[in-house]
Symmetry: C2
């Protein structure tokens, strides 16, 4: 069966990573026929599903039914929702589940949920028996366009986020676009920031398309599927060129150096700022900063802000509710971000819409005076 | 500086794994100049050393001095000796040490000890920041010829041995042959079983050389260095051909299917049986079993037994002190060994000395009657 032609609204993005190549299936109501997609690609007939208490009531039964119909024996584990679940303790629980269920190398751990569940379950899949099969069923827009492509997995420690993990590519990603209907508008917008990012990195036409069609993407249907497929394709191309993150992959951090510092400055309090909002502000700042350094036209920076504002995303530091720490503390957070190498500040800057590049020698003094100026705007 | 020519008794084995290629340095008193070897190859100038309470009093100070002399800032962690240290709890402690010491991707975790320390520290090196540099300084013969080559790392869980781990190749292995002088004769012999294994797999000339020179290998000096270098070379060739253990690498399990079952049957009680002794008995059984199946000449099986007995290794199940469980329980242990795929029994069998091969359809009934017969001999 050729999936891409048999169901009109479905899209297939192939990620050509040699012996780690895999497919991303994107379309409506995919969860209800996940079993068939898995048996068509994986040899094992056992699975351990990891999900969270928000997602389980919505989709777990449908997934279990589909697996059973196709002869896959599955167990499931429902964890608390939220970033704190990315802990060593929960990792141990997932591994124990998989080993108790006798998951072997050809069997799968299935992540049903957002980025937190994907990062945790993917890490477990990377270490159980030194690597078992991994199927991602991302249920947030952020996870569908970002964390489900690229093979990064991880948990947090007392030292910071994602400090323990492995690179472990999924064997299949099933992105059910209907599942996004249950997201709050704020969650959807936060994921959309990453969609816009792919346009800003190196796809000016896609950014223009988003400016014209973003309302359809939010509404669902073919435009949503298209936006997710282009995003996955864009991320896949970068990952294929640089699987282990030594070079070009850093472009994916557009907006993230400022964004992470702002997330840290709000103590990761999601009532004040979620990741995608930090990235939206970070992308706006990266474009303004590039204009200030005479690398890009101020018109492009304004165009970015206009679009992000139109969809309802923040673009200025001052839009973050509550007090923020002094600029020196923000600078420290930027310097401690793991993208810093040997003390130099690395930023993703831009020559304009869709023309971003890696700058690895940005003077701290420039960043400081820019932050001083921009935070009060 | 070309190491292999500047110091007469040193040998260098290169493991050509593409961008994961690394060197194994073998020779006397290597620990005391480890710092220079590390700075010659690694960019980072920080290190976290993991060792155990048996090894620390002997070599930790010498290693720390050498690192300091060469400008490497090092912290160390001394763990309890023994298999129980391969736990999730100790893994967490090692990762915490590395993160507290601000080990970054180019810095190293150094394993100073035997296989337990290497497996644990290597696992940590594979997951801290999704992979930092890893230097092995194996201090047992078993670790020098087996676990330090191949990139397998891992810990044990309540379900069994090595069930969690990653493939993470070292960046450098420093095998100090003088360190083996502190091993008990029993420990040395157990490591020697793996040396002999490489001859039996596919190097008949090496096996013949060992028959003539084993006493010099035990005594130390050039023959010991030679035996370790040939063993590393042999294992490296198999690993390079099959890094992720999908095919040919299974040859390294010669003697291990029977051996693991016997280890399990003695509840891993090292006063009764250590791993190398299990492997020695397992190799003798694999040769006898092959002769019984008319695959090899009984003369070869006798020759294997004669050599292993000469060095003081056991070759018969009846040499294991204490009661053993019934044959059915041994068979169950063989069937649960992770080399079993979909219920078929996979064994490494042989057509003679140095002519081993993978047999993946060995009838359970044949194994059972062979075990019944052989256990009383």
């Amino acid at each position: 069966m050729n999936i891409s032609t048999s169901r009109a609204e479905e899209r297939l993005v192939h990620v050509p990573l040699g012996e780690r190549a895999y497919d991303i299936l994107i379309g409506p109501d995919m969860i209800s026929h996940a079993g068939g997609e898995i048996t068509a690609r994986l040899k094992g007939r056992r699975a351990a599903i990891v999900t969270d208490e928000h997602v389980a009531p919505l989709y777990l039964e449908s997934l279990m039914d589909s697996l059973q119909t196709d002869g896959i024996e599955a167990v499931s584990l429902t964890l608390p929702a939220g970033e704190k679940t990315k802990s060593l303790e929960h990792l141990a629980t997932v591994c124990d589940l998989a080993l108790s269920a006798r998951i072997e190398r050809n069997d799968a751990i299935i992540a049903l949920g957002g980025g937190v569940i994907g990062d945790l379950a993917g890490f477990a899949a990377g270490i159980v028996r030194r690597g078992v099969r991994f199927v991602q069923i991302p249920t947030s827009l952020l996870a569908q366009v970002d964390s489900s492509v690229g093979g990064k997995t991880g948990i947090n420690t007392r030292h910071g986020k994602n400090l323990l993990g492995v690179f472990h590519q999924p064997d299949l990603v099933i992105s059910d676009t209907s599942a996004l209907n249950s997201l709050s508008k704020r969650e959807f917008r936060a994921g959309y920031a990453e969609v816009a990012k792919y346009g800003l990195i190196d796809r000016p036409d896609f950014f223009e398309w988003l400016e014209a069609n973003w309302q359809d993407v939010f509404a669902g249907g073919a435009a949503r599927t298209e936006a997710i497929a282009v995003s996955c394709q864009a991320k896949a191309e970068v990952v294929v060129a640089d699987e282990r993150e030594n070079g070009r992959r850093a472009l994916l951090n557009l907006g993230h150096t400022f964004g992470h510092a702002l997330e840290a400055a709000t103590q990761y309090d999601s009532s004040r700022l979620v990741h995608g909002e930090g990235v939206a502000i970070g992308m706006a700042l990266a474009h303004r900063f590039s204009a200030r350094l005479n690398l890009a036209s101020p018109d492009d920076a304004q165009r970015v802000e206009r679009h992000l504002s139109a969809v309802g995303l923040p673009t200025k530091i001052s839009q973050i509710p509550g007090e923020l720490p002094p600029t020196d503390v923000l600078l420290d957070a930027i310097a401690q971000d793991k993208k810093v190498k040997s003390g130099k500040l690395t930023f993703i800057l831009t020559h304009g819409i869709g023309q971003s590049f890696i700058a690895d020698d940005v003077p701290v003094s420039e960043v400081k005076s820019f932050l001083e100026e921009t935070r009060s705007e």
